[in-house]
């Protein structure tokens, strides 16, 4: 074996770099600096980074979901409905507002908490009608809220903080706390839907990534 054939150079190296051969700081110092580095970076990573990463924006006006929900007949679907072609209307347009309110002049530039990246194909129809999933499962108790939360926008991606979740560590307590791919996959696995693709025998990528 090579180490046995020529052991000498190794010894030389060890001697030259022996910790006791030079002064200027013992093991304690090294540990101290290591811990300082560790602490600083933890502060940055856990404390400062999330604050820097997200900018806060407020919605055009503070919409009261609870108040509206009491006034309409068809619960959430009164304003967030499926169109005839199966697409989902999302945040209401002016056209829905003026059913009850006086004519307003321009569309409300809502900031959308639940907007997914463009690479995600998500069908509300399949989930609401097909699987009978409740709005709350993914959107939480928005319908009974009296005021809109602050919108936090990821400065890098431009999407809402709701997608990654408010816990920077990714810890979730409720089903609606996070909407990353793993969350989709977890629910799909639990419900046993789309468990495999014909090609790979695994979860089908092309169900969501068209």
């Amino acid at each position: 074996m090579s180490s046995n054939e020529d052991p000498k150079p190794k010894d030389v190296t060890e001697e030259a770099h022996s910790p006791s051969s030079k002064g200027g700081g013992g093991g304690a110092y090294l540990l101290l600096f290591f811990l300082i580095g560790l602490a600083l970076s933890m502060v940055v990573g856990w404390g400062i980074f999330p604050k820097v990463l997200y900018s806060t924006k407020s919605q055009p006006f503070d919409f009261n979901h609870k108040l509206h929900l009491e006034q309409v007949d068809d619960s959430c679907q009164s304003c967030h409905f499926l169109r005839e072609d199966g697409t989902f209307s999302g945040a209401p347009r002016l056209a829905q507002c003026i059913d009850c309110h006086e004519q307003k002049e321009r569309e409300v530039p809502w900031l959308i908490y639940a907007r997914q990246p463009d690479c995600v194909f998500f069908s509300h129809a399949a989930h609401i009608k097909g699987a009978g999933v409740d709005c709350v499962t993914c959107h939480g108790n928005t319908g009974t809220s009296e005021s809109l939360r602050t919108y936090q926008e990821n400065r890098i991606t431009g999407y809402s903080r709701d997608i990654w979740g408010h816990s920077i560590a990714g810890i979730k307590h409720n089903t609606w706390d996070r909407m990353k791919m793993d969350d989709c996959a977890a629910c799909h696995k639990d419900s046993g839907s789309h468990e495999s693709s014909v090609q790979t025998g695994r979860d089908a990528c092309f169900v969501c990534h068209k």
Partner: protein
């Protein structure tokens, strides 16, 4: 304590460990992957409500139905309209690319008045009031001078409410000089009139034929109503029918045909008449039809027997006698044979002799006004407007002869000889150009541009900054077809009268105005009888009143078709099909159409060809289309010509090199592309390249074949019959 290197490394190691234990790297990796999928230049489909608007495409004469998908207010995709009688869900490349014209950078956004010299491209935006006012003022002055006939108008078509409004304006104004852009319809209309006495267009029942003998018609490159013809070709393949393509080059159509007859350019009429000779000699014609419904058969038979023996035609066409005889007999013995006239997409009228000869082949096999044959489609008659009251100025102007001599004793078979503008525009003091680009699409465009320079006042109604708009004094931009209403009566070879409705898919994007409204407003500003001829408030009300009972159906279905229409008898004096009479005798006796440029100085023949990947009428090819053009046609900015390697080698030209192509009309730098599929001695170049206007996707790519080719008048009709031009390559 001295901060040693080790301490620093320790700090870094601690930092690295801490970072790894924090969410920062993992979150950043995730975010940057999402960020990298959201480059600002990546097109992202807009979010919103999806709707469809049913309309009609007007980018070519085909009249296909389209269904335009919109997300909220933005049109995002053009699809073929399902169940449409012409294209049933199909759409061509040009039709698909329409959105690039709507949203593209070459739209004219407001009325413009020329600021610099003509063609310099310096414009001053003006208001619509000023634009209408200036045109009305100028035209009013001309009338004041008693010269209403010095106003001319060039349009893509003379039918439909817009075409008719333009013609009505010219009549009320007092000028006979309305011009329609040339096309194969000019020749077909004349042939149908001479033989059948019918005023209208020719319908070719390609959907029911089982043998198509095409005299150079680009069945797979946009002939007729393109999707309809594509489908007919596919149907023939499925049913084991036969397609024979007569053409000097191996076009897409020839390549997919059952038989390609490579003939020398310009010898098609000889081939058709020699085939007639074979059919008659073998008594293979439809005896019943000839006996009952044809007049002049004996005279026709005598002529072809005397002058058009296959032996003679063999020399002229380059085909063998056997081949001519074999395919003539196969044509005659097919159940439903159909001979098609019109080269390429049908953008040149061609020789009347050839049109008549091809039509005569159809008559010999008895498929005139029959299923799978050629039908006379009557002119559309849904526009019934009150007669025009002309004042004395207009009446005098209308008495003057047309500038181009069309319809006179010398040229009785032509309604328009539009190409003659290249021969000089003396007498034209003002010109209106609508939905056409004569400074690009007419033969010998240099001469056309020179003629334009001599016209003191040119008004363009173009939606796009095309070559003609560049050479105008005033531009009154029309809405594009996706922003306006218009009726679209289709004549492109259809057998059932079909009127489509073009309707606004989106609100007008810019300060443009409907051409119909511009005409109405100019007329109203001129007051008197000119204004009096236009009793409508605006174009939309004119359209609705004109279509009357049809309006609702059109709104709902997008198209009206007279399904089940069948042509009646012949409208000639004898009620029979005229296979030969004095008129036709004169046409058959006329000299052959010769190319410009003699054989010694110009040993080659340059022929233009049409491609479905390019557009060469009013609109230019969209960027989507240019992307699909092979690098055997355009490489970089250079346009390539097809030439047989044998010919190229004798000229010492290598494949891929650049050379100078010279014709009696012009000179251009072209690339050499060896192609075994073209006859020796012939050079071919596509129409639709070499734009000088439009955007960077189209301008400066290749050569405009109309800069190299001039018109050659058919001795019989006066129509442009140039199939090519003498050329040399060095």
């Amino acid at each position: 304590m001295k901060l040693s290197r080790r301490c620093f490394l320790s700090l870094v190691a601690g930092g690295a460990a801490g970072t790894a234990l924090s969410p920062l790297p993992w979150k950043l990796a995730d975010d940057s992957s999402i960020w990298s999928q959201n480059w600002p230049w990546t097109p992202v489909p807009p979010d919103g409500e999806g709707t469809y608007t049913l309309s009609t495409c007007t980018l070519c004469p085909g009249g296909c139905g389209i269904n335009v998908r919109k997300i909220d207010d933005r049109a995002i995709k053009i699809e073929g309209a399902k169940d449409h009688p012409l294209n049933d869900g199909g759409v061509c490349m040009l039709g698909l690319s329409g959105l690039q014209m709507l949203y593209g950078p070459t739209r004219i956004q407001t009325p413009l008045k020329r600021a610099g010299d003509r063609g310099q491209g310096q414009w001053k935006p003006i208001s619509w009031e000023q634009a209408i006012g200036e045109v009305a003022q100028k035209l009013g002055d001309l009338r004041g001078l008693g010269k209403p006939q010095s106003l001319a108008c060039i349009a893509a078509k003379d039918t439909g409410t817009v075409g008719r409004l333009l013609r009505r304006f010219m009549s009320a104004y007092g000028s006979p000089n309305f011009f329609r852009m040339p096309s194969v319809e000019d020749a077909y209309e004349a042939a149908i009139y001479i033989t059948q006495g019918a005023i209208g267009s020719a319908g070719t029942d390609v959907n029911n034929a089982d043998f198509i003998l095409s005299f150079g018609s680009a069945l797979l490159d946009g002939y007729g109503s393109p999707v309809r013809v594509f489908r007919a070709n596919s149907r023939l393949k499925e049913l084991n029918g036969t397609v024979v393509q007569v053409e000097p080059r191996l076009s897409n159509t020839a390549a997919k045909a059952d038989k390609w007859l490579a003939v020398k350019p310009g010898s098609e009429a000889d081939l058709a008449l020699a085939m007639a000779h074979v059919i008659i000699s073998n008594n293979a014609m439809n005896q019943t039809f000839i006996a009952d419904q044809v007049e002049g058969f004996e005279a026709f038979a005598r002529m072809v027997q005397e002058k058009y023996a296959p032996e003679t035609a063999a020399g002229k066409t380059g085909l063998s006698v056997d081949v001519i005889s074999e395919w003539a007999m196969k044509f005659a013995s097919a159940r439903r044979p159909l001979a098609l006239y019109g080269k390429g997409k049908g953008q040149v009228p061609g020789s009347l002799k050839e049109a008549l000869a091809v039509h005569a082949l159809n008559a010999l096999v008895g498929n005139i006004n029959a299923e799978g044959g050629v039908w006379a489609l009557p002119a559309y008659d849904y526009i019934n407007w009150p007669d025009i009251e002309t004042d004395s100025v207009a009446a005098a102007g209308l008495q003057t002869p047309r500038m181009d001599g069309a319809g006179t004793d010398k040229y009785p078979h032509a309604r328009y000889l539009t190409h003659r503008i290249a021969a000089g525009a003396e007498g034209i003091e003002a010109l209106l150009v609508a939905e056409s680009n004569p400074c690009f699409s007419l033969p010998n465009v240099q001469a056309i541009r020179t003629a334009f320079e001599k016209i003191p006042f040119v008004v363009s109604f173009s939606s796009f900054m095309d070559e003609t708009a560049m050479n105008a004094d005033l531009i009154l931009p029309n809405h594009t077809y996706l922003e306006r209403y218009e009726d679209v009566p289709v004549t492109a070879g259809v057998t059932q009268p079909t009127v489509g409705l073009c309707r606004p898919v989106v609100e007008p994007l810019y300060k443009t105005r409907h051409l119909g409204d511009s005409i109405l407003q100019i007329a109203k500003a001129m007051k008197g009888t000119v204004a009096g001829a236009f009793p409508w408030e605006d174009y939309e009300s004119c359209l609705k009143l004109t279509l009357a009972g049809h309006w609702e159906t059109l709104e709902e279905k997008g198209v009206i078709t007279a399904a089940g229409y069948a042509p009646g008898g012949f409208e000639t004096a004898s009620g029979k099909f005229m296979l030969m009479n004095d008129d036709q005798g004169a046409v058959y006796m006329a000299d052959d159409v010769a190319t410009e440029g003699n054989g010694n100085e110009y040993p080659l023949v340059l022929i233009p060809y049409d491609s479905i990947r390019l557009a060469s009428r009013y609109v230019g090819a969209a960027p989507f289309m240019i992307k699909t053009v092979s690098d055997a046609v355009i490489k970089g900015q250079d346009g390539y010509v097809e030439i047989n390697p044998e010919t190229a080698k004798t000229l010492g030209l290598a494949d891929g090199q650049l050379a100078t192509l010279t014709t009696p009309v012009g000179t251009a730098k072209v690339g050499i592309h060896y192609d075994e599929g073209i006859m020796p001695g012939v050079v071919a170049m596509p129409r639709g390249l070499g734009h000088t206007a439009y955007d960077r996707f189209l301008a400066g790519k290749g050569v405009n074949v109309n800069e190299l080719i001039g018109f050659v008048e058919d001795p019989a009709s006066g129509l442009d019959a140039a199939y090519g031009i003498g050329a040399k390559l060095a």
